[in-house]
Symmetry: none
Subunit: 139 residues, 4 copies
């Protein structure tokens, strides 16, 4: 079951969060070629955001070839890779977040070992069963 994890008052705009998370789900293989995405209205209702915000996100995903819009028939995932992206590609998508964390650690004068330990802790809290599936909202 694919889920979104939107944070309304974050620095990153809502539509960007949607784009990123769908992109990641496709890279992770959680969304595969031919899968249907929840409708614009469904997502809007579920997360209590405006349909246009969702539509904007979907438009961007369509522009980068991840989605296909079908008038009156919903959205379709258009993933080119067979079974989720290669591990290398997934790590590349993770890299920016790691770099930001590393930058923060450096600026805070935290030793790499301490930062690493804190990250390990955070990872464990974030995925208890390592099933990659305990996000707040259902998609």
């Amino acid at each position: 079951m694919f889920r979104l994890d939107l944070q309304p008052s974050s620095a990153t705009p809502l539509y960007r969060q949607i784009v990123d998370q769908v992109t990641r789900a496709v890279a992770a293989g959680a969304l595969r070629d031919g899968d249907e995405l929840p409708s614009v209205r469904a997502v809007a209702q579920q997360y209590v955001i405006n349909p246009m915000t969702v539509s904007k996100a979907y438009s961007l995903l369509e522009a980068q070839g991840v989605l296909e819009r079908r008038r009156g028939m919903g959205m379709l995932v258009r993933a080119r890779e067979g079974e989720g992206a290669a591990t290398g590609e997934r790590l590349a998508l993770l890299q920016p977040a790691l770099e930001q964390a590393a930058r923060a650690a450096r600026q805070l004068g935290i030793a790499p070992d301490d930062a690493l330990a804190a990250f390990q802790q955070t990872l464990l809290q974030s995925m208890p069963g390592d099933d990659g599936q305990e996000t707040p909202h259902e998609y």
Copy 2:
């Protein structure tokens, strides 16, 4: 020598980057009580950004008691702890970045061990000499 590491076209707004980095420098002990910060004009000139943007950041820092504005004399650091914040507080400031990275890893279906290894790699690249202080720009 305290330095800023501003990324103009980032998702996080410029004024936020300044606020965060000054906050971190104070927590790290790189900026201590009584230190002077360069004037709004100086920072704006050095990083080629608008003075209003710098001023907004300084105002926010002043509002949270980190800085003190002294007419005609620039900004003064008002750090309450003697020698940089306790390690616990610094880790707390690091936490949001770690959580965002952990979230991305989970959504990408990357195993904690792999994420951890990638972070270690990133940390090493980011601070070659492990001196915790080799940022690009001078302040």
Copy 3:
């Protein structure tokens, strides 16, 4: 002087008309690399349409590399060709409209010669002095 020629109740959406006309102006050399485009708000006010509609058009143009958005500083034309596109490229942009007209003529059972004569007439009415510049609104 570059001008837009928007037709509110047309089948083609407003934002599409803007995209097409700016694209054509760039291909025609009427807009050159480095030129400033009128602001989102200015266009919106002048043609009495919603700023978001203009912004959407500009976003598409940015996505295809024709424009560059500069926060707080307006939009810039990013044309790669030196002095307007080659004639071949301009004819390619004209082709779809010609095909639609040819299709209509065929379906109406109008002989090619008659269609051609009518087009010549229309062209003359549309650009009296052949200066390519008598559109209704100023840009």
Copy 4:
């Protein structure tokens, strides 16, 4: 043999394409008073579109008096002129397409002579035998 030439992903909506083409066929004399049009269901099946779309087109044509709906017997053409519309009327129906092409040419800075030559070329390609009637799909 009357044929439709529908373009699913075009800018002009499907129902409009049907309306336009039937209107043109009547003006051209290809459809005459008393001719029968295939049922909504038949057209929908043939062009793989939704019956509602066809029905909407037929309703519009009925509203403008071009068609007459006869319960259980399909649609009947109700053309007032004997043998197709006068040439003047047919040219009037062609005019909008010509104007759009002329507008595009003007905006692209293409000289009338060049636009005319390109149109002649397009006309020749579009009706090789100059018979004015070789559209792709059968009706």
